[in-house]
Symmetry: C2
Subunit: 223 residues, 2 copies
DNA sequence: GAGGAATGTGACTGTTTAGTCATCTTTTAA
DNA sequence: TTAAAAGATGACTAAACAGTCACATTCCTC
């Protein structure tokens, strides 16, 4: 149970390494072929491990996938919790904004450090939550709920235009995830450093050069 | 080959019906379990057809999936082509806007009419383009290219703020697809009729109540 | 209405797969 | 040092699967 003790026996050490090897092999294959198409045989072959050994460490493929996302999920929960605490304690509009900026600043390095897992999440995200994809759906639910709560908080404090909360939350989440997917897939998105700022600005201020009342748009489509 | 002639023989008629039954059965199962997890046996059982019959109509599962998207792809190509023609011919800023509004007006009923296929597309969209998912990836490429071209046109005419084209295109696409996914998954998004207008307004004018210079945001995160 | 072509069928084949297990090796702890 | 526990291994089993095929049935054409 003690993780980093030098007193860790050879047993525990190999155990940890084997598990890491199996997870890494699975991750690579999942990204290459999609979770459902990857077999245990492929995983153990790639990890250079006997088939029986796989079952010593994981009950099945679903448990391997779950173990891939455990850290990520709990890390994100901590970060979101922290942000929500900040939001509750904030009194000024500036403090609120700072909380959101801090959220992005904490989330970004985590997502980049765990790029492969994030890509796997984005890739399997919307598929039916059956079998090995159940744990991925868990992360989806987490993100949706948190995005919704954060949006609600922003709305409550009059920071945002009065769109329905779900609409705002899904638009932000959808745009962000789409960009993240492109980025992690190797798509060239220009200067990476300015990307978060560009996204924020685009979402907050809009694409348009001049403000357009929604009524105008309606009348255009009907007249 | 002649589709709607009353002169169509019993053969051709049953053939068409069988194909439709197999496609429908496949579609339902794909949505339920994900494309890769569905077997030919399940499909023929659901369609109440012998296994051998399946192979009389489709070479394999990939061809069934492809046939599911053929109409949708060509319809969308026509609509996008028409929009691009309008954009080229447009001289005024109003004509440009009209072209975009018309695009939305043509796309919306198609997407709603083919809801199941669209949902399947959204669901399998980002998964690796191997095997049966190749034809889905084809639609993804189509949409990305067209979105990019439309964005470029809008930028060229000074309609949008000067973000990188890819950024604008992906943000719009990502947000739209996320909302569409929620909608088609049965998520409650409020008044459906005002949804397109709300989305357009949100993306064009932004979420924020007051304009924010991007420099301010940067300094907040660093100071 | 006859001959031929297309269609329907499900048993069958060969392959792939998940999961097990007997057996051997390594590590631990006393 | 040694006994027991944990780990490693790959052959093995049973089930699932894609794709085929011989044969029966239906439809079309002349």
């Amino acid at each position: 149970m003690n993780a980093k003790q030098p007193e860790e026996g050879k047993r525990a050490q190999t155990r940890r390494r084997r598990i890491e090897e199996l997870k890494e092999a699975g991750l690579v294959l999942f990204l290459e072929k999609g979770i459902e198409s990857v077999t245990i045989d492929e995983i153990v072959q790639r990890a250079s491990v006997a088939k029986g050994s796989f079952y010593r460490y994981f009950r099945d493929k679903a448990e391997l996938v779950q173990s891939l996302f455990e850290e990520l999920v709990s890390s994100m929960e901590v970060i979101f919790d922290r942000c929500e605490t900040r939001l509750e304690e904030a009194s000024s509009s500036e403090a609120l904004q700072e909380a959101y900026v801090a959220l992005a600043a904490e989330l970004a390095p985590l997502l980049l450090e765990r790029a492969s897992r994030v890509l796997l999440y984005l890739q399997e995200n919307r598929a039916p939550a059956v079998g090995a994809r159940e744990s991925i759906h868990q992360l989806t639910t987490l993100l949706n709920q948190r995005a919704l709560r954060l949006t609600r908080a922003a709305h409550t404090h009059g920071l945002l235009r009065p769109y329905p909360h779900k609409l705002s939350a899904y638009v932000v989440l959808g745009a962000t995830e789409r960009l993240l997917f492109a980025l992690l897939s190797g798509d060239d998105l220009g200067d990476l450093l300015s990307l978060p700022d560009q996204l924020t600005s685009l979402i907050l201020n809009g694409l348009h050069t001049e403000e357009i009342a929604s009524d105008e748009t309606i009348e255009k489509s009907e007249g």
